[in-house]
Every structure is written in structure tokens, then in C-alpha cells.
């Protein structure tokens, strides 16, 4: 292996940085979008044809653009938001745009699974729409959110590998530039093993929490 452990450690830090920051912003966007997509549906508590008809295709379009294309396509937007279009921080903008809509679909599915009877019971109590969302919809879907969040985190790790294209760094970038382009198989193996281990850990943590939350339901 031709690379020093310093490079690996830095790459690992970059990956974790990109994943965690994108997860925070993507998670917020995903929940807000997902909740909006559900409550503005026909027959739901805040039915709004226009909002739904606007958001639904936006989510679909963002979901259908391959990440490597999204990465370069939104460079002007990235520059506007973080002031630069290259580097680790710059990679976060497309990552958020990639993962937010994806997470919103998962959130939407979880929320639609909440028992309609429970929603009706809460409406009958005279709850405001905001109370219904915060006290009933989100808590009832929480167990399923944790699993979705796990899935999203793992796809984020996959997406960060492509961030190398705009100088984002990270483990995937190391595998490509040092391993693939310099024919250093050992580096590829090491980075891949590291990625596999990280994914395993995240999946186990997610499953653990999900079980804990759902123990009685």
C-alpha cells in the first residue's frame, strides 16, 4: 500500500464530515418535505392541491437525476450557498439535495402508514394540525423513521464516494485516485473494507434503536 495512514484518517474524517452534515440538513428537509407531502394530500388535515402539485414533481425530478450529474449540474447553486464549488464543504450542497428528497419519500411512506383511526381520534379531540403532526403523526412513525434514516445514511456514504469529482475528498476519492488510478489494489481493498465496516456499524445501530423504540408497538 503506497498511501500513509494519515491520508486514510483524513479521508475517513472527510467522509464522516460530509455524511453527518448532509444528514442533518437532508434529514430536516426530508422530514419537512415528507410531512408536507402527506398533510397536503387529498382528504388529509391540510389538504392543498397546489402545494402538493408543486412539491410532488420537484421531489420526483431531484430523485431521478443521477448523483454524479447533480454534483456538477448545480455548481452555480453550490457556489452561491457555500462560496466555492470545490472541496469537501462544496460537496455537501449536492449531497443534501440528493438525500433530502429521497428521505422525504421514506418519511412520506412512514407517515402514510400511521393508523387513520388514530388521526381521526386526534381530530375529534380538537387538535390543531400542528399538534396533530407533532404529537401524533411524527411520534407514531418514529420507529419507522429510524430505519429510514439508517438506509439514508448508508446511501449517503455511497454518494460521498462520488464527491471526489469536485474535490470533495473522502474514502471513495482515496480509493479512486490512489487505488484505481495508481493501480494500488491494497489501497482499494483497505478503503472498501473500511466502508463496509462503517456501513455495518450504522445498520446495527439503526436496528438496535428501532427495536428499542418498537418494543411495545
Amino acid at each position: 500500500m503506497e498511501i500513509s495512514s494519515d491520508i486514510l484518517v483524513r479521508a475517513l474524517q472527510e467522509t464522516l464530515y460530509m455524511v453527518s452534515v448532509s444528514l442533518v440538513f437532508g434529514g430536516i428537509i426530508g422530514i419537512v418535505l415528507g410531512v408536507t407531502l402527506v398533510v397536503t394530500r387529498k382528504g388529509h388535515i391540510l389538504e392543498n392541491r397546489y402545494v402538493y402539485a408543486l412539491l410532488n414533481p420537484i421531489v420526483n425530478v431531484l430523485r431521478s437525476i443521477p448523483f454524479i450529474i447533480l454534483l456538477v449540474a448545480i455548481i452555480p447553486l453550490t457556489r452561491l450557498i457555500v462560496g466555492t464549488s470545490i472541496g469537501t464543504t462544496a460537496a455537501i450542497v449536492p449531497l443534501v439535495l440528493h438525500i433530502g428528497p429521497y428521505f422525504s419519500r421514506l418519511v412520506e411512506n412512514s407517515l402514510l402508514e400511521v393508523d387513520e383511526g388514530v388521526i381521526e381520534a386526534t381530530r375529534a379531540m380538537g387538535a390543531t394540525p400542528v399538534q396533530l403532526i407533532i404529537k401524533v403523526l411524527l411520534p407514531e412513525a418514529f420507529g419507522s423513521f429510524v430505519l429510514s434514516l439508517t438506509t439514508v445514511t448508508i446511501s449517503l456514504i455511497g454518494a460521498t464516494a462520488m464527491a471526489g469529482a469536485i474535490g470533495g475528498g473522502g474514502l471513495g476519492d482515496v480509493a479512486i485516485t490512489y487505488g484505481y488510478q495508481r493501480f494500488d489494489t491494497a489501497t482499494i481493498v483497505v478503503t472498501v473494507v473500511l466502508l463496509v465496516v462503517i456501513v455495518q456499524i450504522i445498520q446495527s445501530i439503526g436496528n438496535h434503536f428501532e427495536r428499542k423504540i418498537r418494543r411495545f408497538n
Binding site: 393508523d115 383511526g117 388514530v118 381521526e120 381520534a121 386526534t122 381530530r123 375529534a124 379531540m125 380538537g126 387538535a127 390543531t128 399538534q131 404529537k135 401524533v136 411520534p139 407514531e140 418514529f142 420507529g143 411495545f216 408497538n217
Partner: protein, 339 residues
């Protein structure tokens, strides 16, 4: 308490309109336990949801304590909804909250203080006898216990009215009786008016004082439970009445009759209310030249009124039997000859 004035409800689907309720006129008095019975699809559920404005009438008006909820602002409506408790067939408890937290939910929505919430939830838990289950989750409870949590949750805000949506339909017969007794206590102890919908005659018989029978979105009969089911007029009402008032002539009596196995003539005596308590049969035996054989019979109670029927074979000559019939009629017994 609740008034339906010429209420119609139409659901509009993509291409078709469904008339869920038509020309409903109904008055429910303070303190009533009012039952609405009907087969599924009769419109009971829609009727119930009009009361707390989960549905809005297409035409006509529903008044609760004189207020038309459909006309209120959203804020005023929510205020009124808090005075109406509701329980459901499938309980509709939050899986993410334990029993205590489920009951606390309506109070949290009103932003009451923790101290008040704690006191009220504990009172409600004690009333439904579930104090020891406060920290359990709904998944760990039986159906009857879940419904008791539902009742506690509905009562914790001190409502004036309780709506019951097939509240016992998912429960076994024994648990049904226990829940009905609990509802009766709710009515007696707190003076809460109860409006319930059901397809189970047992529920009506057990706790309701007044009833409405629904069919195809309309109310076909309404009145005191005893009056409606002792002398049902419409076919559907008769079917429901048959579930509790078994006054049909047993098939075997018809068979024996057509085989000429009786010496005398067979009559069907129906006793209603007062006549049930009178010594009519012994009077006939003592004062008329006839012999009596009681072939079959039963007596039941609806809303503390007795209702009986007897299959009696009368042996004697026709003149004497005519006198018996005359006497029975004077005593307000309904008599029909079985042939």
C-alpha cells in the same frame, strides 16, 4: 342536546354521488343513552361523525347544545370538539404512548399544567379501573382494557357528550357487557349524554333508553327502545327485534298442528308491559270451562319493562273459547290463533 334538522349528506366520488344520509330529523335529549342501530352501510357512521363535525352535512343542520358546529370558525370548532368525547371500534390508541400518556393527550392539546394533567389522568384511570396498567403500552392490553383506556381518554376532559362508534363490536360477549356497564356508569355518575351506533341488538337492549333504526341512509323508526322493538313496524326493525325478542312460533308447533297432534286449538299470547304481571292464565283456568296446556313460552325484559309470549293449547268448545278470547283481549293480551 343534539338536533338533526332535515340533514342530508352526499359523498361525491370521481364520477358518482353517494347519498349517505337523507332527510334525517332526530332529537337527542340531555341524559339520554341514544342508540342508532342498522346494518353496515346504513349511514350510522356518517351520522355520528356529523355530531362532532368530522363530517359536515351537505344540506340541513346539526345543532349540539344549540350550536351549529359547521358554522363555527376553526378555533371555535376545536373548542366545541373538546366537549365531545369519542370512542371507537378499534380503540384508536397511540402505539407510541403508554396508557397514562394516551389518556393525557387531550389535556396536552389544551396545554394544561402537568399537575392538572396528572390529577385528571389518575382520576380517569381509577374510574375505569386501570390504575395498575398506567405504564403499559396498548399492545400489552386486551381488547376490553384498550376500550377502557379509550373511555378514560374520552372522559378526561369532562365532556357533556360521548359518541360511541361501534365501541363493543370488536369485543367478546362478556367484555361487551362489562364495557356497556361502564358506559351506563358514565351516564349515571357524570350525567353524560351518550350517542352510540351499533349493529348489535344486545347493546341497544342492555343500555339504551331511546333508539333509531337506520336503513339506506334514512331513519325508519325511532322512539323508546321498548316501544320500537315490542311492536316493530318495518321489516328491518322486525329483524332486529327478533334478535332479542324471540316471539316467533317454533317450527315444531306448526308441524304438530298440521299433523293434527293437538286436541284443542293453539293460540299465541303476547303480553306487553302491565299485562305480564297479571294472573291471566290462572283466571282463565278457574272461570272458564276449558283446559290449558302451555306448549312454549318466554318472558324477557327491555328497559325494565317485561315482555312475554306463550304458546297455549286450549281444549274446550268454541263458545267457551270465544269467551276466553274476549276476556284476554280486555286484559290487554294480544292473541293470535296459530294454524
Amino acid at each position: 342536546m343534539i338536533e338533526f334538522n332535515d340533514v342530508t349528506k352526499v359523498f361525491t366520488n370521481k364520477k358518482q354521488q353517494v347519498m349517505a344520509l337523507q332527510n334525517i330529523d332526530l332529537h337527542i335529549q340531555q341524559g339520554d343513552i341514544f342508540g342508532v342501530i342498522g346494518y353496515s352501510g346504513a349511514g350510522k357512521s356518517t351520522l355520528l361523525r356529523l355530531v362532532n363535525a368530522l363530517e359536515i352535512p351537505t344540506t340541513g343542520e346539526v345543532l349540539v347544545q344549540g350550536k351549529n358546529l359547521a358554522r363555527l370558525s376553526k378555533k371555535e370548532l376545536r373548542q366545541e370538539q373538546k366537549k365531545i368525547g369519542m370512542i371507537f371500534q378499534h380503540f384508536n390508541l397511540l402505539q407510541s404512548r403508554n396508557v397514562y400518556e394516551n389518556i393525557a393527550l387531550p389535556l396536552e392539546l389544551e396545554q394544561q399544567s402537568k399537575v392538572d394533567i396528572d390529577r385528571k389522568v389518575k382520576e380517569a384511570l381509577a374510574f375505569v379501573n386501570l390504575t395498575d396498567k398506567a405504564q403499559h403500552f396498548p399492545e400489552q392490553l386486551s381488547g376490553g382494557q384498550k376500550q377502557r383506556v379509550g373511555i378514560a381518554r374520552a372522559l378526561v376532559t369532562n365532556p357533556e357528550l360521548l359518541l360511541c362508534d361501534e365501541a363493543t363490536s370488536a369485543l367478546d360477549p362478556q367484555t361487551t357487557i362489562a364495557i356497556l356497564q361502564l358506559l351506563k356508569r358514565v351516564n349515571k355518575v357524570f350525567g353524560i349524554t351518550i350517542l352510540l351506533i351499533t349493529h348489535e341488538m344486545e347493546v341497544i337492549k342492555e343500555i339504551c333508553n331511546r333508539v333509531a333504526v337506520m336503513e339506506e341512509g334514512a331513519i325508519i323508526e325511532t322512539g323508546q327502545v321498548f316501544d320500537v322493538f315490542a311492536q316493530p313496524k318495518k321489516a328491518t326493525t322486525k329483524q332486529f327485534a327478533q334478535m332479542i325478542v324471540r316471539d316467533d312460533v317454533p317450527v315444531v308447533i306448526h308441524e304438530l298442528l298440521s299433523a293434527n297432534r293437538y286436541q284443542g286449538r293453539v293460540f299465541h299470547f303476547k303480553f306487553l308491559g302491565d299485562s305480564t304481571g297479571k294472573p291471566i292464565i290462572s283466571h282463565i283456568a278457574k272461570h272458564y270451562e276449558v283446559d290449558l296446556t302451555i306448549l312454549f313460552g318466554n318472558i324477557m325484559e327491555i328497559q325494565s319493562t317485561f315482555f312475554g309470549h306463550l304458546m297455549v293449547e286450549i281444549i274446550g268448545d268454541d263458545v267457551e273459547i270465544a269467551k276466553v278470547l274476549q276476556f284476554a283481549e280486555q286484559s290487554q293480551v294480544n292473541i293470535q290463533e296459530v294454524s
